[in-house]
Amino acid sequence: MGKECVTIVINDIRNYKWFIITGLIAVLLTIPFWASNYTVSIFLLIFMYLALAQMWNLLAGYAGLVSLGQQMFIGLGGYTLAVLTELYRAPLWSSILIGGVISLIFALIISAPIFRMREAYFTIGTWLVAEALKIFFSNWGYVRYGQGFFITAAYQLTTTHMYYMAMVIGLGSVAVVYIILRSRLGLGLMAIRDNETAAESMGVEVFKAKLICFLIGAFVTSIAGSIFYLYQVFIQPYAAFGIDWTVAMVFIVIIGGIGTIEGPLAGVVIYVLLRQYLYNYAGISMLVLGLIAIVLIHVAPKGFIGTLQEKLGFEFLSPRRR
């Protein structure tokens, strides 16, 4: 009985979906006007990690591409921004965009060899490419070796500016995934997620679908990376091309619910808040996050949202067709 009631209430919520979404966005838009700087920066982080996680979810949760090398696009995006603005005094916006395009081209080039590797080999392959880039950048004089850059162009921006940039990329990533899932490509992706072999014999062009996701993921991840480095002001190769980035994406998507649009939304809030709180315990923060992930995988292997959906049959941003 209780469960039925909840389901009814939830279905009511769904009827007002667009109303609720518009309201939420309106509230988010006003945050810089009334919230403290600290709160604004928390939301800023949430939006940036949301974009990263949403893209990783698109790859791992739908296209079956478990990449551990997404940091390569963050690094490429961040470095393009740094180099173009510091060495050439290029405008901010075009630098960010060019970073995205460079990441996209790089993704296209490496896709030829890397898509020949399957499953675990693909995972290791992507990681190796990112590691190779890290070593290459820290030995490349043009980008000042491991010394890094201060992105001074960021000084012209206020936290409010960055908040809106992060909001656009964060919510934009959700919209991108939602639109993809509602499209022809999305139908194929969901089929691939559920059974790749069967999808292939139903006529789904698995390779093409995966490649498109990989390219979109590279582009958006790169833009989000640039915005992050704009916020952080300082970039150097060990952090920019470090696997910590992807570890965060995996954590967010797994605890939230892989293969759902809502999963990363829930996961990112938990992750960012936890991380902020755990700053005081720097030595053990990774341990605590790891422990939480392990416990959650055992208790609710489909993540918060995945488990909720299974129990209640509720999807807020539903890609369902009728």
Partner: protein, 241 residues
């Protein structure tokens, strides 16, 4: 009658094991070719060779005068070869409607709007219409098998490969499957049907091919094939012993 499919000296190997050993078959337009044979005789492997899941070691597969030996499974599907899986491989987290829609949108290259009518028609035929919004993962065996057939039909096949769609079903359910298969045949689709339940072969198949150890044993009229001594020996003998 014209041959829709010609398989020539097809050999599919797993390491040293020749699961399909230099097998040749011709499938005529509009017929139901039944395939029988003991477990492990290479029936499903042959089907996988035709649908493109396995690459052959040698030999060729020709569909409507096109050599498709090197084509991917998805390309073969779009050309007009639909298939079902022995153990249903339905898309568990998608609804019944969406499962079939995948076939219409990708296999038959229709827009989602145009595929919609076709999908409803097929759901009606296969008796799944009232379950269209259920998740495939929640279906019972008969419905999953129905969904396998529905999905394959949505790809608009000229050649349909059925892999034990009646296995594990009750007598009444088998009749239901027979009805559906006969209907599909009447709509002009050529069918290759692997089945252990010999009654279905007697009732529906135009010709029956018996394979053992990856080789063709005998092919012809269902009655004659089932009565043939070598079939009795190899097929029923192994099956019971």
């Amino acid at each position: 009658m014209e041959n829709v499919l010609i398989v020539e000296n097809l050999t599919i190997a797993f390491g040293q094991l020749l699961a399909v050993n230099s097998l040749s078959i011709e499938v005529r337009e509009g017929e139901i070719l039944g395939i029988i044979g003991p477990n492990g005789s290479g029936k499903t492997t042959l089907l996988n060779g035709i649908s493109g899941l396995y690459k052959p070691k040698s030999g060729s597969v020709i569909f409507k005068d096109i050599d498709i030996t090197d084509f991917s499974p998805s390309r073969r599907c779009r050309l007009g070869i639909g298939r079902t899986y022995q153990v249903p491989r339905t898309f568990e987290k998608m609804t019944v409607y969406e499962n079939v829609l995948v076939g219409g949108v990708y296999g038959a290259s229709l827009s989602e709007k145009k595929a919609r009518y076709k999908v409803y028609e097929i759901l009606e035929l296969t008796g799944l219409l009232h379950k269209k919004d259920l998740f495939a993962g929640s279906l019972a065996l008969l419905d999953r098998k129905r969904l396998e057939v529905a999905r394959a039909l949505a790809t608009n096949p000229q050649l349909l490969l059925l892999d034990e769609v009646a296995a594990g079903l009750t007598e009444a359910e088998v009749n239901e499957v027979l009805r559906i298969v006969k209907y599909i045949k009447e709509s002009g689709v050529t069918i290759i049907w692997i089945e252990h339940i010999l009654r279905t072969m007697m009732e529906a198949a135009d010709r029956v091919l018996c394979i053992a150890s990856g080789k063709k044993l005998i092919c012809g009229n269902p009655k004659e094939v089932l009565a043939a001594e070598e079939v009795q020996e190899v097929y029923l003998g192994v099956e019971e012993g």
